[in-house]
């Protein structure tokens, strides 16, 4: 049996029926990791001993008739910018290479309570800045579909690990499309819930008003199961929303009749690769056949989304990252002559190029005399983008388009052209800017046999409709069942 190909439900079923023990399942995952991950590089930290010990505890609880949740004994992995008590949380940065937080992120706590077993911490672009994991200080995560290609980013470790069967599911973070873009590149499902639906406590901040923790899994149902655990109000996060959180599995209905789907023409224009565009339009056709009402419409602010995103995210990051000064934790330069020198050397040596670029940009945007022209203007654009979507959701239940303009690109291809890299986020950033839930599911393959992602964006706190439409799509297509052929 190839355990690594199973969904969370299937793993859970085996455990429940005592066909496999929690320890066996965990061991099988580590065997798979040992076999494959030297090629993929999805993990930064592996917690084999801890995970096996944990699996034994969970199994004992299961044997006593406890630990009956949908995620009990299910192996999970967490992006390395989500804090784990007593376990290194590096953010793939030299700055935090040896940082061990004395606290768990709220999401991690919640998953521990469900008896999920943590296998390790996943690679990412340094501090989540990037779209390929090439900005990781530690390693580049390769795409399981083509090892010469990027896994996407910044949650590339998440998507690659899920695609290659190196974990049951993964938690990622999505600031400008990170979860969705890497899920699209690796042919898995990734969801970024509504801003405020999942606590950010313990997520190392990149851009606080855009960051959102979400899930990467093999199919829509698994995503719904993880959402059931991680969503909810948290008093430790002021931006966490006090709303009713539903049972997301209730949305998994194979029926899209009457659902209104809007396809922004700006998302399928010239910037989009023809093969990607074709797969998306095919998907639209499928949904139409299933009874959804699909039509094209315009999101006129789309072209301003990228500049607004880079201004807002860099501005917030410049402030969020100022705490990495070498005084209390993390990297500290040697041989400094005074306080200023300590700051300069620590930050020059501890941060990578992309992080420094954005700190400098963000500092500039917030500076006296430039604030109005950049930051304030970007906030105005933000309001207009929100309004674009508010208008759209008066007519449509879901906004649909490609997740990315292209499929996974080659490692090194865009490394020296940050602007080109940034434009890859064109379709994903708007959901962060407007705080909307969005999800990417596989919708086909290009001529290089690389997965193509279909993005669905929904109303605030209406994850259910996203799940419903994507579940129906999945049930009637089966792209998600096609696995990567990566072998040792």
């Amino acid at each position: 049996m190839e355990i690594h190909k199973l969904t969370v439900r299937e793993m859970r079923g085996l455990i429940k029926d005592k066909k496999v023990s929690a320890v066996e399942l965990t061991q099988a995952m580590f065997d798979r990791i040992a076999e494959i991950d030297w090629k993929i590089n999805s993990y930064i930290t592996l917690l084999k001993d801890e995970a096996l010990m944990r699996a034994r505890e969970v199994q004992e609880r299961i044997d006593k008739g406890k630990a009956k949740s949908a995620l009990s004994a299910v192996p999970m992995a967490v992006k390395d910018n989500i804090c784990t008590r007593g376990i290194k949380t590096t953010c793939a940065s030299k700055m935090l290479e040896n940082f061990v937080p004395p606290y768990d992120a709220t999401v991690v706590k919640k998953l521990y309570l469900e008896d999920s077993v943590l296998l390790g911490k996943l690679n990412m672009d340094e501090f989540a800045m990037g779209s390929s994991t090439e900005n990781s200080y530690l390693k580049i995560t390769r795409n399981p579909w083509d090892l010469e290609r990027v896994s996407g980013g910044s949650s590339g470790g998440d998507a690659a690990a899920v695609a290659a069967g190196l974990t049951g599911f993964a938690l990622g973070s999505d600031t400008g499309g990170s979860i969705r873009q890497s899920a699209a590149f690796c042919g898995v499902v990734g969801i970024k819930p509504t801003y405020g639906a999942v606590s950010r406590f313990g997520l190392v901040a990149f851009a606080s008003s855009l960051d959102q923790i979400g899930a990467v899994a093999r199919d829509v149902t698994d995503c719904a199961l993880v959402l059931n655990t991680i969503t909810g109000y948290d008093s430790m996060d002021s931006t966490s929303a006090k709303v009713e959180y539903p049972d997301y599995t209730g949305a998994l209905i194979n029926d899209v009749r009457g659902i209104k789907v809007g396809i922004p023409k700006e998302y399928i224009g010239q910037g989009t690769n023809p093969e990607v565009k074709k797969a998306v339009l095919d998907a639209v056709e499928i949904l139409r056949r299933l009874g959804a009402e699909c039509e094209e419409f315009s999101l006129p602010m789309t072209e301003y989304a990228i500049p607004a995103y880079y201004i807002i995210s860099s501005a917030e990051a410049s402030s969020n990252f100022a705490r990495y000064d070498g005084i209390r934790y993390g990297y500290r330069a040697e041989n400094y002559s005074n306080l200023l020198d300590l700051y300069k050397k620590t930050r020059s040596e501890g941060f990578g190029t992309e992080v420094k670029r954005r700190i400098i940009l963000g500092t500039y945007f917030l500076s006296e005399g430039y604030y109005d022209a950049y930051y304030k203007k970007a906030l105005k654009v933000r309001t207009l983008i929100r309004k674009d979507f508010d208008d759209a959701f008066k007519k449509y239940d879901v906004v649909l388009g490609p997740t990315t303009p292209t499929t996974a690109f080659k490692i090194g291809e865009k490394r020296d052209n940050p602007l080109k890299m940034y434009l890859g986020d064109t379709y994903t950033v708007s959901a962060n800017i407007a705080g909307l839930p969005a999800l990417s599911i596989p919708c086909g393959f290009d001529s290089n046999n690389l997965p193509i992602g279909l993005q669905l964006i929904g109303r605030h706190f209406d994850e259910k409709t996203l799940l419903r439409v994507s579940y129906a799509f999945e049930q009637n297509t089966g792209f998600h069942k096609i696995k990567t052929g990566v072998r040792a």
Partner: protein, 480 residues
């Protein structure tokens, strides 16, 4: 040329909430180094601030008590700067939408009433404290104070003298103590004042160039700094020089200010709204609740004391200047039913003793009930006024019940005529010349002889009785 000062004050008051502004750590002063900290207040990665509702409540109360309008909607902004005492590398403050705006405090200087405008009151978090290592191995940081809530109160440039600045600060301190939002202990840094000062020729409408002096440690130091800096500026101008806009450090020892940095090289704090925090909304209902919860404020209390207790205006303003003192006075006055005597003992004895011992008005070492008892002993004629002062001092140092002091020390008034006659005879024996003078018609010496008689009795003689006896004895001899 005659100049006038133009002064604006920026006051920082630590709020006396039990926990910090964005986490649940204690705010208590004087804890062991770095024992009142957590990952949130030392700004560790991934942690988030959650605003303590009490902080808003306290700040709104301060705003209401100083006649401010309260913003229904305000926000918190990040003020970015690098320094090791600030672990997040930004302070969370309020930039363009403060909680309270456009208030005032009425003060009185040399009998002249004046209104000092308050531009704004906003909330922010305090920083840690840098401690310089004795072995010179570098600096260490204590983060206990980090995240202690502060309000910053900014005045209009309405203050025209050091005396007005002091009166404003005293008034503000009293108000904050009355509404119980800050203990205002300058020596512990829970009340700090920055002075913005410029001078201009009298009659001139435009402002001169101002300098700023930060963190003055006491009212006395503030007064001296204002006077010193004004004199410096006037001297510069009189010598044809110009004032540079800059921050200056006041050296209390030398009584001089020194240039620290000019505004030209000032920080760009890159304020922007803190995305981790939601807007602060104070609706009418909450505001009204807070307004109704405000206690009687110093001005109102002063007026009431003048009316209800018939004490002099000066005494009333001194006593109501401290909530602790006013509470003490009021309790003693009500119990003893002799407010005037209570007020006299407070003004004459208590304040003197507190000052001598360097104690605050909230450190009075005996209960108000004892002061009432003392007044009662005096009113009933058990002890004299002179003895009362002695008992008071004893009570201050020992904290003992005045009745017990009087009993133990045998301080009751002597009304026994036989005993007092002996005292009088002794005085007459000791002062033959004065006695002759009196008998020769110099009535004025009677007062002195009377004083001698009281002294001879150790102050314990019943003055009415001994006066009669003295008069009688002096007259008797005259007749013989």
């Amino acid at each position: 040329m005659e100049y006038e000062m133009v002064i604006g004050l920026e006051v920082h008051a630590e709020l006396s909430t039990k926990s910090k502004i964005y986490c649940s750590c204690a705010t208590r002063f004087g804890g062991d180094v770095n024992t009142q900290t957590c990952p949130i207040c030392v700004g560790m990665p991934g942690t988030l601030p959650v605003l303590n509702k009490k902080v808003v409540e306290y700040a709104v109360k301060a705003g209401l008590a100083t006649n401010c309008s309260i913003a229904e909607y305000s926000k918190q902004d990040r003020k970015n700067y690098f320094y090791p005492d600030q672990p997040k590398a930004y302070q969370i403050s309020q930039n363009d939408l403060p909680l309270c705006e456009s208030g005032y405090i009425d003060i009185e200087v040399e009998g002249r009433a004046k209104r000092i405008g308050i531009t704004r009151i906003h909330i922010e978090d305090d920083a840690g404290k840098l401690m310089h290592d004795e072995d010179d191995a570098g600096s260490l940081v204590d983060y206990n104070r980090c995240g202690v809530p502060l309000i910053e109160i900014v005045t209009e440039p309405d203050v025209r003298s050091a005396q007005e600045a002091r009166a404003f600060m005293e008034s503000l301190k009293a108000i904050l103590q009355y509404i119980d939002v800050s203990d205002c202990k300058m020596q512990e840094g829970s009340l700090r004042v920055d002075v913005n000062l410029s001078v201009r020729p009298k009659g001139e409408q435009r402002f001169g160039t101002r300098t700023e002096m930060k963190n003055l440690g006491s009212f006395r130091s503030m007064v001296r700094a204002i006077e010193g800096e004004a004199a410096r500026q006037i001297e510069v101008l009189n010598n044809g020089g110009t004032i540079i806009q800059e921050t200056r450090r006041w050296d209390e020892q030398q009584g001089l200010s020194y240039s620290m940095r000019s505004k030209g090289e000032a920080h760009d704090y890159r304020f922007f709204p803190d995305p981790d925090l939601m807007p602060i909304v104070v609706d009418k209902k909450w505001k009204d609740e807070l307004k109704n919860s405000l206690p009687e404020l110093p001005e109102a209390r002063k007026k009431r004391y003048i009316d209800q207790f018939a004490i002099p205006g000066y005494d009333a303003s001194i006593i109501t200047g401290s909530k602790a003192l006013a509470d003490f006075f009021e309790e003693a006055a009500v119990i003893s039913k002799n407010a005037k005597a209570v007020s006299n003992l407070i003004m004459g004895e208590l304040l003197r003793l507190l000052k001598e011992k360097g104690m605050e008005t909230d450190e009075i070492p005996f209960p108000a009930e004892y002061l009432a008892k003392l007044v009662f002993l005096m009113d009933r004629g058990v002890i004299s006024g002179t003895i009362a002062k002695k008992v008071f001092e004893k009570m201050f140092y020992t904290g003992k019940d005045p009745k017990i002091i009087v009993k133990e020390e045998g301080l009751e008034v002597i009304s026994d005529e036989k005993a007092l006659l002996e005292v009088v005879m002794e005085v007459i024996r000791k002062n033959p010349q004065l006695v002759r003078d009196y008998r020769g018609g110099k009535d004025k010496v009677f007062g002195f002889l009377m004083g001698q008689a009281m002294k001879e009795s150790g102050g314990k003689a019943n003055p009415q009785i001994i006066k009669g006896i003295l008069k009688e004895k002096l007259g008797e001899v005259d007749n013989s």
